[in-house]
Symmetry: C2
Subunit: 403 residues, 2 copies
């Protein structure tokens, strides 16, 4: 058993309209070379293949080229699942054809029950799902009665049940690998604040479970190849592992400055060994938080300017009045070029009120269900009932699926 574990390719991702396709292709070429050099049995992509459920034509074309190159030209089997960013049903088109050529794609629970069998290993592919997907599966496919099905209201209940069914298909003497895509907590606690922060930076939604799985659910697997969180440092245990994304997707990830890469996993000597292999970056991502004077002084900018890079600039100590009439973006573009993907301002003089504790969070940084609940509370003076919360969750699931 030897495989490459990667995840969260998010093909088609943009930052404020700037395409990351070139970065994604650059990372892909490295991943392909590693897979060839390491002579792996398979390449695992643990969800979020695309960035959106209806990807752009460019994203579809690029991902098609990558898969064709890996599976058809290089004969490297690919095992992939859909993540929360993927449109599972759209992605599913052609899967029975793909399997004939060693591209295994799982987009629903039914497929998760049928492992890919190699000589020494069983690979189970469980895509990102909602509790409602589990209810539909156990009712319509398995034919369970309503009362039991109704109990799958939390993602942890649903996944525990699924994992238990997967275990029933374990063949003894083989290694058991799970490929899946959820927020799995390091500490065994539901409220892992650090993880929640990482999560919010990439999903802006708690639908389907924000850090509600704990790694002990997966204790019977030899290795769990996770996707969802974009840094390998968030891995909850030695054998329940995030590979992280191959590319930096935003300034928050750039600030964390964790190394992007992939895992090579094998079982030499009967035990699981994993090594993290770094991916190079063609175009660095600089996050600069300085005042205007510093940003425009040569001593400072000579380190950053004149290269092929992305820039996220937060202008410190910004004095709106003093800067009136100055086109700040144009001045900065003269120095840093046009790839300034973010430009924000930290004002010198701020209204005291705005600095108070009750300063509202920007809606964009809050999960939609939190925004709706806050609005409800503000309007009615009471919290939504459990039933109302359920309705809100169902609607948000539908909306997410449509997108």
């Amino acid at each position: 058993m030897k495989f490459l574990h990667t995840a969260d390719w998010h093909i088609g991702r943009t930052i404020n309209g700037f395409s990351l396709l070139e970065e994604q292709k650059y990372a892909f070429e490295q991943i392909k070379e590693i897979a060839k050099n390491e002579n792996v049995d398979a390449l695992i992509i643990a969800g979020d293949l695309y960035d959106r459920s209806i990807p752009s034509v460019e994203a579809v074309t690029t991902f098609n080229e990558m898969l064709t190159d890996l599976v058809i030209n290089e004969k490297i089997p690919v095992y992939a699942i859909s993540g929360n960013h993927d449109g599972a049903k759209r992605l599913n088109f052609g899967r029975d054809f793909f399997a004939d050529s060693n591209f295994y794609l799982s987009t629903n629970i039914e497929e998760a029950m049928k492992p890919i069998e190699t000589e020494d290993t069983q690979y189970f592919l469980l895509p990102f799902i909602d509790p409602s997907d589990a209810r539909v599966y156990y009712k319509n496919v398995v034919g369970e009665d309503d009362e039991l099905v109704k109990s799958y209201t939390k993602i942890s209940d649903a996944v525990m049940r699924i994992v238990s069914d997967i275990r029933d298909n374990f063949v003894e003497g083989k290694k058991h690998v799970l490929v899946t895509h959820f927020a799995v907590s390091k500490k065994g606690e539901e409220s892992d604040d650090e993880l929640k922060q990482l999560m919010l930076s990439e999903t802006s939604s708690t639908v389907g479970g924000l850090a509600t799985l704990t790694h002990d659910i997966f204790k019977d697997f030899d290795y769990v190849a996770l996707g969802h969180i974009h840094t390998h440092e968030a891995s909850p245990s030695e054998s329940v592992v995030y590979s992280g994304s191959p590319v930096i997707f935003n300034s928050k990830e750039a600030k964390l400055s964790t190394q992007k890469g992939i895992y090579i996993v094998d079982d030499t000597d009967g035990k699981i060994n994993k090594k993290f292999i770094n991916l190079k970056v063609e175009k660095p991502f600089y996050v600069l938080n300085e005042d205007f004077e510093t940003l425009t002084s040569k001593d400072f900018y000579k380190k950053y300017s004149g290269q092929n890079a992305w820039y996220s600039i937060q202008l410190k100590d910004y004095d709106r009045k003093a800067m009136e009439g100055i086109n700040i973006r144009a001045r900065l573009e003269d120095i840093y070029g046009t790839d300034i993907v973010e430009l924000s301002f930290e004002e010198r003089y701020q209204d005291i009120k705005n600095q108070s504790q009750n300063k509202p969070t920007s809606v964009g940084q809050t999960a939609p269900e939190v925004t709706i609940n806050n609005f409800y509370e503000e309007m009615t003076g009471q919290k939504p009932s459990d039933f109302q919360e359920k309705v809100i969750e169902d609607i948000l699931i539908d909306i997410r699926k449509e997108r």
Copy 2:
């Protein structure tokens, strides 16, 4: 050589929001049974697989089930091309995987040059293209110089050049079948009014050539399996043939009341034989053009009501004042049910002006380039120049591709 020729499935089509998926599945089951009973070498779908370039999730799921059923379960090879309704690049995802399982899909000119070879036949799959696609192909792929490439401004020039290149790949002693998707004229004239009417009823656009191909372009092929026009009666010659769509898509097609079906084509005795096999309709499509009194009298409606049918109703001799306060749709639904997909009114008293010769055509019935040209002429008093017309055409091509 023996194949089934069908086209214009338009999976996901709706009439004013009413889904035709059930009709499409009913027709599909018949087509599959015919292909099995006739023991064909292949099933040809000559374009417009989907109704839209970004089909709905239901359409994607349904078409995936159909293809999997045909190719993987029933082992019937499928040869298909993209039509003007399909998003060629999106549809192209996975094509190299599909080909391994005998589902051959062509979405560009490059693929049209590589025939599918069987023991006795070469099948060339030329999808619907624009002149601009030909210019890109001959410049970027073939590497022709600009001057020659520029000459492909009309679709007939482009297709003639492509057909000439295809002929260079002919293997002697084999039959040569072309699968393509254009408006091809019966009479060998560019201005075939009857054909234009048929065309407009289904595309509402002349972009990419409205009846600009004549069937003699294709004289070197033994059989040309066409898609685009929805009735087999529009076939331009004995060997250049429209199969028509398997399902009635609107009231115009219902009024023509031509039989829907598919062709079985073989070459017993060395010559090409084709037979048209009718497809049954599960749910009839009635077009009723009567006054309100007739529509609501039992003697009339007993022939139509009380069955599973679609209704397109044009209310004749409609007296707006006399009918005030009557909910006409509700009254008609009481009799005919809720599947009234169209309801329009022919007023008894009309303003004389509106009946004059200059009565404007409804925009919906006019090709966008005609609407734009008319508007330009109305505003400026002169016709757009050739250059302006070219710009308009290019923009409309881009818009259509995006859709």
